[in-house]
């Protein structure tokens, strides 16, 4: 693997056959296939080392620590090694801040900026935790369960025992189990998967049974957590996080949480609250490009509209992995390869017959990997009430401190469309550029106006979609001497 040149000062865009954004399973797999068949390939990665989120830290942690993370994590080692040994160029710590229809990628790295041009652009920037606002969620001490898992994977950090894990999704149980392997027993699990959702998931169970390894794994984690004596509260609703108040004046950081279940209202003191309500595709790049998106009512998220090869509505631009649809690491690897194969045929590196014969086993494997999804999606569907009826004091836009009440006032004042609301409330205008609020604001508007989320739409995305300093931008066009 060649490291791309660090200082990206250039006056014209360097040309590549394929530029890939993201080095998780989809990106790495695409890069391996592209470079194997002769495409000049560059991978631009926001993170510092390959693996994306799922295989984070895999290339620099010791074997002893990696074993704590479970068998699915270890599967990534082979893939990362193959990527490192491929001839694809890899550029980590790189922020892509603009993409255009001609497949130019503008990015910043090491205090400078650069532009590359690609014949094929594969976006594999993956997914992120679903931001699900609740009262007190911005308090220090509250973080995403995925964030805590990053601290564990990359830095071998575990929280104190005074930690509660709350939400809905397989990651909750995986994380608590991983902590147990490391000798840390946390205080409680608060599971928001509702009884109704569990009942509606039953119709998908027969197909899910075909993917019984996934199910057995989930059951094993739950069993071992119970055996360790960690209380699991089920059917939970209405989560709030409360700060400690010294002399009723100081609002400091997380002190306790409250939630409701069938037996009433619970109040539990804790130092850390790790929340997880599923993951959603990161769509800032496809939004920026103006690709077509669909609202998925089962996964409750926006997805770019892609063909089975991963082609978006823009020529030469693909999405592979969880950034297209939440389908997991195995499918991400397969989708990366499929997008790569399609691009290789388009670029003339392989003929159609070869593409078809290489793609067939991938399509088949991907179909099988999908058996579990409808069941998981229905069983772990996020609590609707929290999405549509947040407490009025709940901060919906973290960057700009905009509450649900502020948003309700803006809608009352007659602002209907999400971009008008953005303009008048500043929701989506802060540093995160709507990553954390885009969906929850859309849910809130949809519910208040009694419209489907698909009709509400999403914020107009404009470049730069990532932080960019004037100094970095200035290196793009060095002074020309006469």
């Amino acid at each position: 693997m060649k490291r791309a040149p660090k200082q990206a000062v250039m006056t014209k865009a360097e040309q590549y056959d394929t530029v890939i954004i993201g080095a998780g399973p989809a990106g790495m797999s695409a890069a391996i296939t592209c470079s194997e068949y002769g495409a000049k390939t560059l991978v631009l990665d926001e993170q510092m080392s390959p693996g994306g989120q799922i295989y984070r830290g895999i290339s620099h942690q010791q074997a002893q620590h990696k074993a704590l993370l479970g068998p699915d994590y270890l599967k990534g080692e082979q893939l990362v090694n193959a990527f490192i040994h491929s001839s694809a160029q890899y550029q980590p710590s790189t922020r892509v801040w603009h993409l255009d229809d001609d497949r130019h990628a503008h990015f910043s790295v090491d205090g400078g900026a650069g532009i590359v041009k690609a014949k094929s652009l594969i976006i594999s920037s993956g997914a992120m935790e679903r931001p699900l606002p609740f009262k007190g969620w911005t308090l220090p001490g509250v973080m995403y369960a995925g964030a805590a898992q990053i601290l564990f994977k990359s830095h071998r950090l575990v929280p104190s025992e005074n930690t509660i894990v709350a939400g809905s999704g397989p990651l909750l149980y995986l994380l608590v189990w991983q902590y147990l392997q490391a000798g840390r027993k946390i205080k409680a699990v608060v599971d928001f998967a509702s009884f109704n959702n569990k009942v509606s998931s039953l119709k998908y169970l027969p197909k899910a049974l075909l993917a019984y390894p996934y199910l057995l794994k989930g059951m094993k984690y739950q069993r071992e957590i119970k055996k360790a004596g960690i209380p699991i509260f089920t059917g939970a609703k209405r989560l709030t996080a409360i700060a400690n108040k010294q002399n009723n004046l100081e609002v400091n950081c997380l002190d306790k949480i409250t939630f409701e279940d069938n037996s009433g209202i619970h109040s539990l003191q804790c130092e850390h609250l790790l929340t997880h309500f599923g993951i959603i595709p990161r769509i800032q790049f496809t939004q920026l490009l103006g690709c077509e998106h669909d609202w998925d009512e089962r996964q409750l998220c926006w997805k770019p509209n892609v063909s089975r090869w991963g082609e978006t509505s823009k020529a030469g631009i693909y999405v592979a992995g969880d950034g297209a649809s939440i389908t997991g690491a195995v499918t991400a690897e397969l989708s990366g390869k499929l997008a790569a194969l399609h691009s290789l045929k388009e670029q003339g590196h392989i003929e159609i017959a070869e593409r078809e014969s290489l793609a067939m086993p991938c399509f088949k494997a991907r179909e099988q990997d999908a058996y579990i999804r409808p069941f998981l999606e229905a069983y772990f569907k996020p609590p609707q009430e929290m999405l549509s009826h947040p407490d009025p004091e709940t901060i919906l836009c973290r960057c700009e401190d905009v509450t649900a009440q502020d948003l309700a006032n803006a809608i009352d004042a007659g602002h209907e469309n999400i971009n008008e609301i953005k303009f008048f409330t500043r929701c989506g205008m802060g540093p995160c550029q709507g990553r954390q609020c885009g969906q929850s604001v859309a849910h809130f508007v949809a519910n208040t106006r009694n419209e489907p989320v698909s009709a509400v739409g999403s914020y107009r995305a404009r470049p730069p979609v990532s932080n960019l300093s004037l100094g970095e931008l200035a290196t793009l066009y060095p002074e020309e001497k006469e």
Binding site: G141, G146, S154, V158, S160, N252, C253, E400, R435
Partner: protein, 99 residues
């Protein structure tokens, strides 16, 4: 408070946190080093002046903003700690008054 799950010795890195010398390991980001040193709050929110700390640890929430060697609004989770680095958190919204 976050603690290391094992005592595997990695290369120590000394840097400055609000003027005080603290230690992390080679592979620590500023965010993980803050949490390891018991610092849960790194800034106050811009409009309501409320305490904020790292939330996503992967670069999509922009909560973990700190000042690095004089440069403001850097994401702590996207930078590895370096020997002698000066990191500052802020106590008031929009103020960078640490020494």
């Amino acid at each position: 408070m976050f603690t290391r799950s094992d005592d595997e010795k990695s290369k120590p890195v000394l840097f400055y946190l609000n003027g005080r010398q603290v230690q992390g390991q080679e592979s620590d980001t500023i965010a993980s080093a803050l949490l390891l040193n018991g610092i849960a709050t790194n800034r106050k929110s811009v409009l309501a002046n409320q305490p904020r700390g790292p939330a996503c640890l992967m670069g999509v929430c922009y909560e973990c903003l700190v000042t690095i060697n004089g440069k403001h609004n850097q994401q702590a989770c996207q930078h590895l700690i370096e020997e002698g680095m000066r990191v500052e958190t802020s106590t008031e919204a929009g103020s960078y008054d640490q020494s």
